[in-house]
Symmetry: D2
Subunit: 109 residues, 4 copies
């Protein structure tokens, strides 16, 4: 089975066994992503870029991904498709000859 | 090719064509996830849970996922593995008989 | 003494007694604001708008404010001044006759 | 007039002239704080700690503060009081002799 399908199957099975879909409206899923993103960020607070605890990063990043997958699922988005579309759009927004080696935003290139 | 491998290949190809790996330290990737999560959240601000613009949600969610995939890649995490591990851990943290139908945190069950 | 001056005096005294100014660079203070904002947000997750625990909101909101005051202090911003300036700018961005009773963003009015 | 009272007067006057209190439930105000905190954070993304644009930091920080003040106002919190209480609590949580010169969390001291 494709890995994304397998992850979604495990996530929705976990959710449905607890009857949690009733709480998972899109707005609260977006909140949950922000809450988990904040917990991930805390691991880097007051630290040099490489100093976060790797095992904790793994856990918090998994939480961010889990809610992001569930939000995609809620809207019926195909995760591979929306990512490849976004990369294609950014490919135009950030032309290689202008964007190479600079971290500027597209509107400052 | 597995969908996660395909996404990672597209993301790292996009990144490396622009020579952006030099900016992508773990801390700034965690920042980027938070910035994108905030943009996603804005689509729901002052709105009922289902009123966000679906196309914009698609785009911002893709951004969150893209940076989350890149951070996983930076640490060498296997995305499927860390998600399945996290679901297994939450399975114990939130036993079905206690967690069913309630949105309480595990420490309040 | 003016209340903002009193708060800043208490915050910087607390910080300096622990020799923490060395960690409080602007970027990490902005991170800290996001981390605390995420903890505040968690109190509302999966809940109706008025259901958060009031005492916990008080604590997390105080944390957001504390780091926001410290960041203002770091840049030498006068908090009253930057807020009154921002309100004046928003007064033009959101003219009463167009913005009254609608939650639309200024670029959609 | 005390500066916090003056700020709150200007904020609520701005809000009420637009009849926006109807949108400002506690949950959406907490969302707004996170959205603005994310915009503040973006100014530091891919940058060294001191490289953000000072004028933009001023604006985004004012937005964070504005919604934080409005949330405090919504709950009837006295901003000076909740900050001084939090500093007093942190004073016990982070004893000077243990916390001096280290950025560790209280549960790691």
């Amino acid at each position: 089975m494709d890995s994304i399908d397998m992850i979604l199957k495990a996530l929705t099975h976990f959710r449905d066994a607890r009857d949690w879909d009733q709480f998972h409206n899109p707005k609260d899923l977006a909140l949950a992503i922000n809450v988990e993103a904040g917990e991930l960020l805390e691991l880097f607070l007051w630290k040099a870029p490489e100093e976060a605890n790797r095992d904790k990063v793994k856990e918090e990043l998994a939480d961010v991904l889990a809610f992001a997958f569930l939000l995609a699922n809620k809207y019926g988005f195909d995760i591979k498709e929306i990512l490849l579309e976004k990369i294609a759009a950014n490919d135009k927004k950030y032309p290689v000859d202008k964007a190479k080696g600079t971290a500027k935003k597209y509107n400052e290139l």
